[in-house]
């Protein structure tokens, strides 16, 4: 099984030089810690910055410089700052090459649910619906099952949707999968996890073709 950092590390292998990338809250944020050598990417935060840098050193926090999680951040050399309407123009206009976000459920057709649990306090979708509706390349980072062991990779989502037919790839603690027109295609399995384990933990249609290699993380 992969831990949170290892999931992030595996997703970081998907980054390509020159990409603009939006990372959601939670595991996706950790992807920024594992940018492969020789690759330069620019992180967008949807509250209005391209070129988001690491957290500031103690004493150097600026209340006027935060990310979408309301955390204090720094700006990289070459960063740019803009308003919310411009920020979502670059998201809606497909100028951001990769979006990584968490999910409660993903369906075998790529639907995603990650903003609302009926009967529980609803906090809102923030920018998630805008991001998933427009991005061409969406990777979901999540655990394969919920706390009670129920699969989060389903035939159909049961929770209110955030977006339809949008997720392209999923990296879980157990596996790497592509979302294809025919279902979840198993690409890689976590060390110590068998194809049968993944099959058991996947409620939606799972496509297994040939030998499934182990995920490699340096």
């Amino acid at each position: 099984m992969l831990n949170r950092n290892e999931i992030a590390q595996r997703i970081a292998q998907e980054l390509r030089d020159g990409w603009y990338v939006n990372l959601g809250i939670g595991i996706p944020t950790l992807v920024a810690n594992y940018i492969p050598e020789g690759i330069s990417v620019v992180f967008q935060s949807e509250n209005g910055i391209l070129g988001m840098g690491p957290f500031p050193y103690e004493g150097e926090e600026d209340a006027d410089l935060i990310n979408a999680g309301k955390q204090t951040i720094t700006a990289m050399p070459g960063a740019s700052i803009f308003d919310s309407a411009t920020s979502f123009a670059m998201i809606r206009g497909k100028h951001i090459q990769l979006t990584v976000l968490g999910a409660m459920e993903v369906s075998e057709t790529g639907d995603i649910a990650n903003w609302k649990i009926p009967g529980k306090l609803v906090k809102g979708m923030g920018g998630a619906m805008d991001l998933v509706a427009s991005a061409d390349n969406i990777i979901v980072a999540m655990n394969h099952t919920d706390k009670r062991g129920n699969s989060k990779l389903l035939k159909n989502c049961t929770l209110p949707l955030t977006g339809v037919r949008c997720v392209k790839k999923i990296v879980t603690n157990m596996a790497v999968l592509d979302v294809t027109p025919n279902g979840f295609k198993l690409l890689e399995r976590a060390p110590g996890v068998s194809v049968e384990d993944i099959q058991k933990a996947t409620a939606g249609k799972l496509i297994i073709e040939g030998e499934i290699p182990e995920i490699t993380i340096n």
Binding site: N67, G69, T72, R92, M125, G127, M129, A133, L161
Partner: protein
């Protein structure tokens, strides 16, 4: 031309019960602190507030919520406020949650003379319920209407007597779109200067969108999530 008013109390003249306000800011970053304080003192109630978030329990729009001055919130994310949650669960507060990009675009649209627009955000979700769907370039989009507001309250870093504004850092966020969207836009700034001082090449909000401006008395600029790394 002089759009300068003395202070926040004078700036909010004309805001009445049951009006709709756009309030700039993202979390507690770039919020019009002085106007909010003046609204709390005024006791004006029944407000509909269009704002990305609803503040925290004892700061930002949370102060107006505590005082029961807000009837309805139109926001994208409202998670950081226990009093908000309590009022919402008891049905005392109406809440309209909309995608963040659509929120910004709907505020801006009001000021651009665009009554509505099609966007892919929210298609196939409950946000799309009751909205017209149309396909462009092989993809479904939903019709979203401009958001109208009687007043917009925005906060900038520097401004001049003509209402030209410059923001600092990510405190810009929703402020420019809302400055455009409000029927009457009140700008509060950290530093008010004479026309000619600000370089016209670097104005973020042209003064035409601003009707009243004043220098705020104090800015607490509270940080919601202080995150730092150690120097070692």
């Amino acid at each position: 031309m002089n759009k300068v008013v003395k202070n926040a109390e004078e700036a909010i003249q004309g805001i009445k019960d049951d009006m709709t306000l756009m309030v700039g800011g993202f979390g507690l970053c770039g919020i019009p602190e002085n106007c909010i304080t003046a609204l709390v003192k005024s006791g004006i109630k029944g407000l509909t507030c269009i704002s990305n978030n609803a503040g925290v329990d004892n700061f930002g729009l949370g102060l107006l919520l505590q005082n029961r001055q807000i009837r309805k919130m139109i926001s994208s994310y409202v998670g950081e406020n226990a009093e908000f949650a309590r009022q919402m669960l008891k049905g005392e507060l109406e809440v309209d949650l909309i995608p963040q990009g659509s929120l910004a675009a709907r505020c801006q649209a009001a000021g651009m003379g665009v009554p509505a627009f099609f966007t892919p955000a929210g298609y196939g979700t409950e946000v799309a319920e009751g909205k017209e769907v149309r396909w462009f370039n092989g993809k479904p989009h939903i019709l979203e209407a401009a958001l109208e507001a009687d007043f917009a309250l925005v906060k900038a870093w520097k401004g001049d007597r003509f209402g030209n504004l410059i923001y600092k850092g990510t405190a810009r966020n929703f402020n420019p779109a809302m400055a455009m969207g409000g029927k009457i836009t009140i700008a509060e700034v950290e530093e008010l200067v004479e026309p000619g001082v600000l370089d016209p090449n670097f104005i973020h909000t042209p003064g035409v969108f601003v009707q009243r401006i004043f220098q705020g008395e104090v800015y607490e600029k509270r940080i919601e999530q202080r995150t730092v790394r150690s120097k070692n």
